[in-house]
């Protein structure tokens, strides 16, 4: 009777513990289930590190990251109901400000939409001295200043950084229109090169 092997396996299975209880309630359900740390769950933002460069908005696969301007702040939001947890925003962010956490219990009632459905953060904008339009976030401008000063030729660094201070106060349109007035037109470098050549001769 070679069917005995199936019978023995059936009798062994009486003691198996495959079904685990999952109690309804708060997150202490964690102690019953086996969650690895590398699970891809809800994205969370570190607001101090974010510079508002919008790389995540361009890279999102499901078009869920959105932003809009309101007076002097720019508000960003991620819609958790549409996110597919792919991790492209984490790959692309230059400051490591957005990461995918371990949380996967994301259902909620419609009354709790505002707290549980959206991840929100905001950044303060800088406005142009001339026309008053808000064109970039303050953190982004500071970050560009830091990046420029890393790789610059030490002979010209002081002058370039001084020019950058003036440059960063105007929006792109006004920079072009008022470039001669405020003294940041690049023609001044060509004139100086010409003067140096004449002196060498």
């Amino acid at each position: 009777m070679r069917n005995i092997k199936t019978l023995i396996e059936a009798l062994k299975n009486i003691h198996s513990k495959e079904t685990i209880s999952y109690p309804i309630g708060e997150w202490p359900g964690k102690k019953y289930s086996n969650i690895p740390e590398t699970l891809r769950g809800k994205p969370i933002i570190n607001e101090e590190k974010c510079i508002g460069c919008e790389a995540c908005y361009n890279a999102c696969s499901a078009f869920t990251i959105k932003f809009f301007n309101e007076k002097d702040k720019r508000r960003y939001s991620i819609d958790i109901n549409k996110c597919i947890f792919c991790g492209r925003c984490e790959d692309v962010c230059p400051e490591d400000a957005i990461k995918l956490s371990n949380e996967f219990e994301l259902t909620h009632f419609p009354e709790e939409n505002e707290e549980k459905r959206y991840v929100k953060w905001e950044k303060i904008l800088k406005n142009c001295k001339n026309c008053g339009e808000r064109f970039a976030t303050i953190d982004q401008i500071n970050k560009i200043h830091d990046r420029i000063s890393l790789n610059i030729n030490p002979k010209v660094s002081e002058e370039v950084l001084k020019d950058y201070e003036i440059y960063s106060n105007y929006c792109p349109k006004c920079r072009k229109i008022l470039s001669y007035k405020i003294g940041i037109n690049p023609s001044k470098y060509y004139l100086r090169i010409g003067k140096d050549l004449k002196e060498m001769k």
Binding site: N3, P36, A59, I84, R88
Partner: protein, 548 residues
Amino acid sequence: MIENSMKNILEDLSNLIIETHDIKINKQLAKILSIDKEKLIEIAKRILKNSNSRLVHEIAIDLGIDGFKIIQLYELFNSEGKAYHIGIESYFPREESKIPSLAAITYQANWAEREIMELLGIEFEGHPDKRHLFLPYEWPNETEAGLEEAKKIGFNVFPKPEPPNILPIGPYHPALLEGVFLRLKVDGETIIDADLKPGFNHRGIMKLGEERSYWRNLYLFERVCGICSADHTNAYVLAVENLFNIEPPDRAKYIRTLGIELERIASHLLWLGVAADLIGFKTFFMWCWKEREKAIDLLERLSGNRVTKGIARFGGAKRDLGKEEIEKMIEKLKDIEKSVKNLLDIAYNNSILRKRTEDIGILDFQNAIEYGAVGPVARASNWKIDVRHDCPFDAYSQEYTTWDVIVDNGKDVWARVIVRIKEIFVSIDICNQCLNALKNIKGEIVTSEKIELRKGEGIGKVEAPRGELIYYLMSNGEPIPYAVRIRTPSYRNNAIVPFILKGYRISDAPIIYGSVDPCMSCTDRVQIIDIKSGEKKIISLNDLIKRR
């Protein structure tokens, strides 16, 4: 040598060729010959006369004002058993869109040509069966849906009340996991004829792929099928790497191979449970799926998700493995091996299970080559084809890992069970070799070469748990692909189902249909019409402009 055999064929056909160019397939170079459209059948007959050749796929692309382009891709084996590819392409204008059909010579091109006829409007002369494949039978009218041919075959085109000797299985039936329409002509309890119609799961994925950039398409093609999703991403990434000529580093190759093999273990255990359920053995079904949870846990550690794993990136892999995780994974693999040996013991010794699966659904060696079977179905009929062996990619070639191809001579359903269980053991062996190699090799996981956009074509081939999966990409120099074509293994295996059902009883129909491992989500993913020749069809301007 491969070079000699290819040179012989090119000399044979040299008077018919207009020009040649190369495509990269998985580290091999394939030659594509451009010829005149009237000579297609002559050349096809000469290539297929060789008894060791098969047709891989037939592709048609709409080039707008310039007309149509059609490509036929063949795989040939030389006398030592090595494989090489040859393709034939031809261009023709829109006004003369009638070409001779390849399905009149071999059955392997039957479904591919039906799909092109209904969706692109090219007409194949001499095709034996011109009914719709994916679209419903009522669209747009009776004659275009193939009413005349259907009467010759014997199955009605419309689902009217049929005579009482035709049994419908589907679209809703407790035996099927997905929606498919299988009609059986019976006489008492014996099956005389069968007919299969897919198309209930049609999502239009190939057309969506032509509107998104290369990066976004990675997450679209991951969702074609849930059970073999790592294979789809891997094949797409290989196609892009072949198109733009970049190569991933060694450590990334091992990680990608580990993902594919773990998924093969999970998929074969799922199939074993479903096959037992189709006989009526619900207890064995529960035991198999209990073991599968361990393999899925390993995948969750590796990639972060159980179903849509995103392991591959262009030029490398996404995530790295540390030393402690490697130790834990090796221990868990030993557990899986012990329990699969136990399951094999039980299945081998249960007398009723053997009686239900032996001597039914027989597929001979000659028929397997002629009808075009792929994957474990072909290997259970003594035909040794495997993409990992013939056309190696990632870490499957001889310098990285060593392993065997499993072949069995049984030809029936029991042989397919044995082939799949033995493949689980081979997969566990490859996983152990990869994990041991990952302990020693150091390096990055993404290459630092840059992608430069250029015009061209690229093909990526992968061995999914069900057979051979192939992706074809054509690019115009823009950051969006011009054409994407996918051919999944279930496409081929579903086409041979009517031949292995004839002559057996109704009780055998579910288990025979289940033994070819049908995955209907893989089969239905077709494109949508661009513009049909000769008819006025309006596409809105927004559709043409909207590209992101």
